[in-house]
Assembly symmetry: C2
Homo-oligomer: 193 residues x 2
DNA sequence: TAACGATGTATCGAGCCGATACATCGCGCT
DNA sequence: AGCGCGATGTATCGGCTCGATACATCGTTA
């Protein structure tokens, strides 16, 4: 899940850890909050071991000795490898039920511009079903057990129901748009690097 | 965080793990999804070791031998202890910055009916500040960097902004209500067991 | 009575987070 | 010049949590 996100970002341009984290935070909106370094760095090492990414060297220039003193660790820039790009495409295409969860959905959605239309539709519809179920859960509680709940729990349920409802409508718009655009030529796939 | 939730529920009535999980899921609305058994059972044991909760026995009745055969594990009902009730009150009152995070906020909110007004206000206002910051983050991205983003990322940001905006308004309503009710006698603290 | 789904307890590996430590860089203040 | 301070940057550790899995019992229905 983090794998997909990192590979996707590195595909746009080489980057080091800190930058990666920042881009992730903004790109993923509410759904996925911020990624922590305790997850990021181990993942980077795992990806490097697997061969999906490699260090990019940051122009070593012409020094005689390697580090003069004070170990000098400096920033580590990573770039994606050819195998990494394949892996990215695989991850993009293979959509299991976990892709509808909050976090994973956010990541998948963030790279929709590089995803096939059919896959996009599959994900959006799966997500919609999931949120619809959540919405029905709220409805049930409010309908069947409202009198047994205190005022605050009730308020929380009402707010949850409304949020779910909005999200379903949002997804519906997106789905309708995909269908329309897949009829006549999509004109463009607006992704600006 | 799970501690608070479990102690709170057990205060309403003794319960076993499975039931605990169900109640949690519905009571906590969207904010906190479902709690997994991999978290629940270890936590229960920890709480029991600490002395906050104890097994309630489930009416052992009058059997001569303990388990006839087939180890017969059966359901384990837990009840809260006196120390546990103290602990619950402590956890309710001590509101650090972590109480404004999604998960913790949901749990705290779920037990607002048994929380002091000042504490309720502190939590609601802290939460509002947090969501306001999140909202500003979305605004910044949409204002400053909109032209550099692809259509889907843009859409995600817009949806995030709208959701954050709604939540701020919701919190504002709740805060206004608290203030109003803390002026004249609250009339009642509607919590039905 | 046999099958099946809901109920129920429990563990394991892996992922992820928050806190923490440490180092460097650029900037402004005095 | 010197000093501090916040942003940038890499890295680890303990602990919590999740998803998957296993296993057992109960009630209902075919």
């Amino acid at each position: 899940m983090l794998d997909l996100a990192i590979l996707g970002l590195l595909q746009e341009s080489p980057m080091h850890g800190y930058e990666l984290r920042k881009q992730l935070s903004t790109k993923l909106g509410t759904i996925r909050a911020a990624i922590s370094y305790g997850s990021l760095y181990p993942t980077l090492r795992r990806l490097q071991t697997a061969g999906w990414i490699a260090e990019a060297g940051e122009t070593p220039a012409d020094d005689e000795a390697v580090p003069p003193l004070t170990s000098r660790r400096g920033r580590v820039v990573y770039k994606i490898t050819a195998e990494g790009k394949e892996r990215f495409q695989d991850l993009l295409a293979q959509v299991g039920p976990e892709a509808y969860e909050d976090a994973a959905f956010g990541v998948h959605f963030a790279f929709f511009a590089r995803t096939d239309v059919e896959v996009r539709l599959r994900i959006l519809e799966g997500r919609r079903r999931k949120i619809e179920e959540r919405r029905e859960g709220f409805r049930d509680v409010l309908g069947r057990a409202a009198e047994r709940l205190d005022a605050y729990t009730l308020e929380l349920q009402k707010h949850g129901l409304e949020a779910a409802d909005r999200e379903v409508r949002w997804l519906e718009e997106l789905i309708a748009n995909e269908r329309k655009n897949s009829q006549n030529p999509p004109a463009d796939n607006p992704w600006r690097p």
